[in-house]
Assembly symmetry: C2
Homo-oligomer: 334 residues x 2
């Protein structure tokens, strides 16, 4: 259907909705499932982790990914950050009238590929169509269910003084890659989003028997905002060594050019990991042994207080407060 586009009637619930599901969604999602409105599934022993995300990234295709890959990885990574093994996803689409069916199919294929990488199944969905000018091509809300194996206790509230703070790689790649192709700002670059499913990387930490206290993927608001959330939830302070935080040269250059602080730029394929100080080096080894953690680093440590504060120790030896992002740095980055 090279010239076909989404029409309002695709959202009617009638014949065109059914055709859309049969032609675009079912071939790429789980066609073994019945056509009921919800899926009935097996759930293994353990506690249930449940999360949701909605993605409105602009543009929907960007270097290294697209809104489909982003929505699957975002939900998988939220589950992984609870020490859960992701199992099932749902996907709900808000389509703007006039969206090209080819673009939609490309997004759906990309979701399937990311789901396969993560080892999860997309088991139910919904689609609505809004008139032109009441949306922007496609928004995708995903929800995910995972199982937390017995014995795992990971939470943003579990950071303890003395913990080592690690990150699984470079910072700021996703946000700057999206920005590099944003209409009105677009510039030539080799920046690529890091969007990837991190559940296997996280499992490698548990397989190694590490005592993981906190896992959190620093997406919107970046590393600085995420660390502030953890410091508040745990009632501790966190100190970050600026020189330990790795940046790709092109990301550093673009941030300097545009006046962004990379510590506030979104990542979509990075995990923050807190472990007891004595396990910091072992955790680093394990992360670096994984394809998605080769550039992992210890970037800081947890202090007693002041509770809720994050500090940056700068390369010239100073120390300043690293606050939560205030205001909008990069709208619609995810």
């Amino acid at each position: 259907m090279p010239d076909s586009t989404i029409r309002l009637a695709h959202g009617s619930g009638g014949r065109l909705t059914h055709e859309l599901i049969q032609k675009v969604f079912r071939p790429h999602f789980d066609d073994s499932l019945p056509l009921d409105d919800s899926a009935v599934l097996d759930f293994p022993p353990g506690r249930l982790a449940f999360t949701t995300d909605v993605h409105v990234v602009d543009p929907i295709f960007f270097p290294g990914g697209d809104i489909g890959r982003l929505s699957v990885c975002g939900t998988v990574n939220d589950l992984a950050a609870q020490a859960a093994r992701p199992l099932y996803l749902t996907a709900a689409f808000v389509l703007e009238e006039g969206l090209s069916l080819n673009d939609l199919e490309r997004v759906v294929k990309s979701m399937r590929q990311a789901a396969d990488e993560a080892g999860v199944r997309v088991v139910a969905g919904d689609t609505k169509v809004v008139p032109k000018g009441k949306g922007d091509k496609v928004y995708i809300a995903t929800a995910g269910v995972g199982v937390v194996p017995v014995g795992r206790q990971v939470s943003g509230a579990n950071a303890r003084p003395g913990d080592a703070v690690l990150i699984s790689g470079t910072v700021g790649d996703h946000g700057m890659a999206v920005l590099s192709v944003r209409s009105g700002i677009a510039f030539e670059s080799t920046m690529v989003s890091d969007v990837a499913p991190l559940n296997d990387l996280v499992e490698s930490l548990f397989r190694a028997g590490l005592d993981v206290h906190v896992l959190r993927d620093p997406t919107r608001g970046g590393v600085a905002t995420t660390l502030n959330e953890i410091a508040r939830q745990s009632g501790v302070a966190i100190e970050v060594e600026e020189e330990a935080v790795l940046l790709r040269p092109e990301v550093l250059g673009a941030c300097e050019l545009l006046g962004f602080d990379p510590l506030y730029v979104a990542n979509e394929g990075k995990m923050l990991v807190f472990v007891p100080a004595a396990e910091g080096n072992r955790a680093l080894e394990i992360l670096r042994a994984h394809p998605l953690g080769r550039e992992a680093a210890v970037i800081g440590r947890v202090l007693e207080g002041p509770a809720g504060r994050v500090f940056l120790r700068t390369q010239i030896g100073g120390r300043r407060i690293l606050d939560m992002l205030s205001g909008e740095q990069l709208p619609r980055i995810c």
Copy 2:
């Protein structure tokens, strides 16, 4: 905050996002939960039902409900239609820049009230903000998890020749109530949406020990489209008695005035129920004994074939094919 409105920075993931969560969402949702990106929860023995919906109804407030109540009930009813007991919901919001914070809070309160009625908890959420003209006030995607108690076998594929087809009340109330206040169409009326959580109504059928074959809530596309879906999934024909289908007089009047067939108009508080013919009267009694099923009726029966066909036996004794909705009858009704 009487004059406050949503700004792009409310979607940044930074300080304003946190303020929005603390002030508007947490007081009405589950403030016992930690501030992690996903919730970790107990799951009882049984299979897991998992579903999602996204709602884009226009206008967001309508007689009898609003987009918040609609989104909770829609997901609860999809779970109930799988014979599941709904347990947990997530909610993801796409907010348009300029949305009044008072309107948002009204919607969130309404979600909480509907969740309380249904006995479910909203356990995780996400919020994104899009620029003015890239959305329409608020879109809400909900996902829901429920448990299917051991022994229940309900599916759209389980209709059997001889089954009695029941509906829990009048038809077309939701769609016509929304339409009655749609800008450009608005007319005076006393029509009220039927939006309500049907999980307890469904449980009453199981408590009575009925052998329920199919449950399905006839939302978008109406009773006619939903019956077509069931006829196809089960490989049977279905015959509906026109005179058995109840309509409120004001709904009938509005449909006649505007040229709508009420069998294609959306319901948000009605359930289609298929049971063996011998259990039809008992099912009717049980439904009518429930506050949400007082006007329940047996509206038809399942035939051997032709497979996938739905027929309407009209009041004057004729018989015609009742096809799936084609084209868009009422856009953005849910």
